[in-house]
């Protein structure tokens, strides 16, 4: 076990630093040492920053909406008097068990079919001149991917929140009801404070997962149109794994530099979040 981890988890980390220093097309042994040139090129490439911005837009739009929806749904389903809540839970969880790649394919089909269905009447009414092509429009591509992303992994957060809600002692609510607190007050004064700790972990996992978004974007838009929905991982993929015959820009060293930069950034964010979670836990104990 240790050797597998060392070989496939630890070694790549160290090796990736080495690769970033070469101009290398990925075939054979890297020979053209370029020092920090790759990092400078990444920092100067506006398309890297475009992908970088899109990654953060994806994360910071998706996470709050998804968590808010998941929490609301969890509060509704957590009601012990609600019959069939396990059936609802299964329904809302079901997209989670399918792959992002498949969801991406299905949603692209559905969106284009929906596009032609909706476009017809709108065109006849003279509201639009051409059929809507959601994924083909620079303005709508990223929002569409975000919407699908929210739909796809909402179930995880729903189940997390349900587990957290069920760990809140019922007596607390009963005591508050005796004191005359209404539902809204009970939510603000009991549910929110009691969820803070697990909530921080849920937020942490959601942010971490979203910053690594790859499958959905690659399958739904390929990062297009005109890089409008490109994220850092698809940017790296484009440089590292597009065969040199297709794209002259293929450069593994360059892609590694971008990956390394993003990896360090995500790790810093992770550590920051971890410290925040730990702080919340300690404050609770104190």
């Amino acid at each position: 076990m240790v050797s597998l981890v060392l070989l496939f988890v630890v070694y790549p980390l160290i090796a990736s630093i080495n690769i970033t220093l070469y101009d290398w097309n990925g075939i054979g042994v890297p020979t053209r040492f370029v020092g920090l040139q790759n990092f400078i090129k990444v920092a100067q490439d506006q398309w890297f920053w475009n992908a970088f911005r899109n990654t953060f837009v994806y994360t910071f739009v998706l996470v709050p909406i998804q968590l808010a929806l998941a929490l609301m749904l969890a509060l509704v389903l957590n009601n012990p008097r609600l019959k069939g809540s396990t059936v609802y839970r299964a329904v809302y969880f079901s997209p989670v068990v399918t792959s992002a790649a498949l969801v991406g394919v299905v949603m692209s089909l559905l969106l284009s079919s929906m596009g032609s269905e909706i476009s017809g009447p709108l065109m006849r009414a003279g509201l639009i001149s051409a059929p809507v092509d959601v994924l083909g429009s620079p303005a709508f591509a990223l929002p569409a991917v975000i919407a699908v992303g929210i739909w796809h992994t909402l179930g995880y957060n729903l189940v997390y929140f349900l587990a957290a809600l069920q760990s809140i002692p019922k007596e607390m609510y009963e005591a508050a009801m005796v004191d005359g607190a209404n539902a809204w007050h009970r939510f603000l004064e009991i549910t929110i404070p009691m969820l803070r700790e697990v909530g921080a972990v849920i937020l942490f996992l959601a942010v971490l997962g979203s910053l690594q978004i790859f499958d959905l974007v690659l399958v739904m838009t390929g990062g297009g149109p005109y890089y409008a929905s490109e994220v850092v991982s698809t940017y790296i993929y484009r440089f590292a794994f597009t065969p040199a015959s297709v794209a002259a820009e293929s450069n593994v060293g360059y892609a590694s530099a971008a990956a390394f930069f993003m990896g360090v950034l995500v790790m810093t964010l992770t550590l920051g979040q971890l410290l925040a979670v730990r702080y919340l836990q300690q404050r609770k104990k104190a």
Binding site: V201, S256, M262
Partner: protein, 294 residues
């Protein structure tokens, strides 16, 4: 008047005024949940319907959920000409092997680490926790290079090894946590009866950890059935090694007009994992909920 009587009085006063609105409110909640639930799984139902439609019907019928007849041609095409039989086999091999390997390695490592007297335990644990929080996706290039040099590129073995290694840390920690909750007396009894460490692990401890085996197994199976990034990158040179997720992606590129075939392919990719989910629903959800707790 005591506090309890006040409670009883106010409680009593509330009941008659609130029963009526609450009852209709409950139906409203159900109605909303059902409508949202149908919309939620609509994409799957639509694809299922689409997989039975003919090409022409598919374009004419738009968003409708009812195919005119149960036409199975799309399945036959996707399975044979669309290579889905190969993709299916590859996916089963990948998911089953990784699941088995992860359970084996993670439980063995977790068992040893759960014992308090292992030398260097703190260092190993600290290293593992630190590694767990490294962003996985961004080390793909050196992993690719490594697998290439090991001669495992364009083989399922390469994909299996990389997927297994990536899952080990988290699951070892899960097993470690579980083993440390099992009472030490049973283990000691086995050791006194003359069983050595491997026998104790295999005959006593692993069977006792079966709930954790189920959790880890289910989660790993699902993750590997759906894996995309690693199988995609490691099978770029050999289309016959594609898994369902990768094959689906490639299929769309190659058959961008054969939508009904794509639907049939999608259903074949979803069906096994969805069936598993519906039969083992409770365990799936517990596995996920358990992951956040620990």
């Amino acid at each position: 008047m005591s506090a309890s009587t006040i409670r009883a009085l106010t409680g009593n006063r509330e009941v008659p005024t609130q029963t009526c609105p609450r009852l209709s409110a409950r139906w409203l909640v159900h109605a909303a949940l059902i409508v949202a639930g149908v919309l939620y799984v609509y994409p799957f139902l639509w694809v299922l319907a689409g997989s039975f439609k003919t090409q022409g019907e598919f374009f004419r019928s738009g968003l409708s959920l009812l195919p005119k007849q149960l036409n199975l041609d799309n399945y036959v095409y996707a399975w044979e000409a669309g290579q889905f039989s190969t993709y299916f086999t590859n996916t089963v091999v990948l998911a089953v092997s990784v699941t088995a390997l992860v359970i084996l390695f993670a439980s063995m490592a977790g068992y040893v680490l759960s014992k308090t007297n292992v030398s260097g335990k703190k260092i190993i644990l600290g290293g593992m926790v630190a590694l767990m929080f490294l962003p996985g996706g961004y080390t793909i290039i050196p992993i690719f290079d490594l697998v290439q040099r090991l001669g495992l590129l364009d083989s399922l073995v390469g994909v299996i090894v990389v997927q297994t290694a990536g899952a080990l840390i988290f699951n070892t920690l899960l097993f470690m946590g579980y083993f440390s909750t099992i009472s030490k007396e049973i283990e000691e009894a086995a050791l006194i009866d003359g069983a050595n460490l491997p026998t104790t692990y295999a005959r006593v401890m692993l069977p006792m950890a079966s709930p954790m085996v189920a959790t880890v197994g289910l989660f790993q199976f699902m993750q590997n059935w759906n894996a995309f990034w690693i199988p995609l990158v490691f099978t770029i040179g050999n289309p016959s090694l594609r898994t369902l997720a990768v094959g689906m992606y490639a299929f769309v590129g190659e058959n961008s007009t054969g939508w009904t075939y794509i639907c049939a392919g999608a259903i074949m990719s979803i069906l096994p994992i969805m069936a598993l989910f519906f039969f083992l629903q409770r365990y799936f959800i517990e596995a996920v909920a358990g992951a956040v707790k620990s």
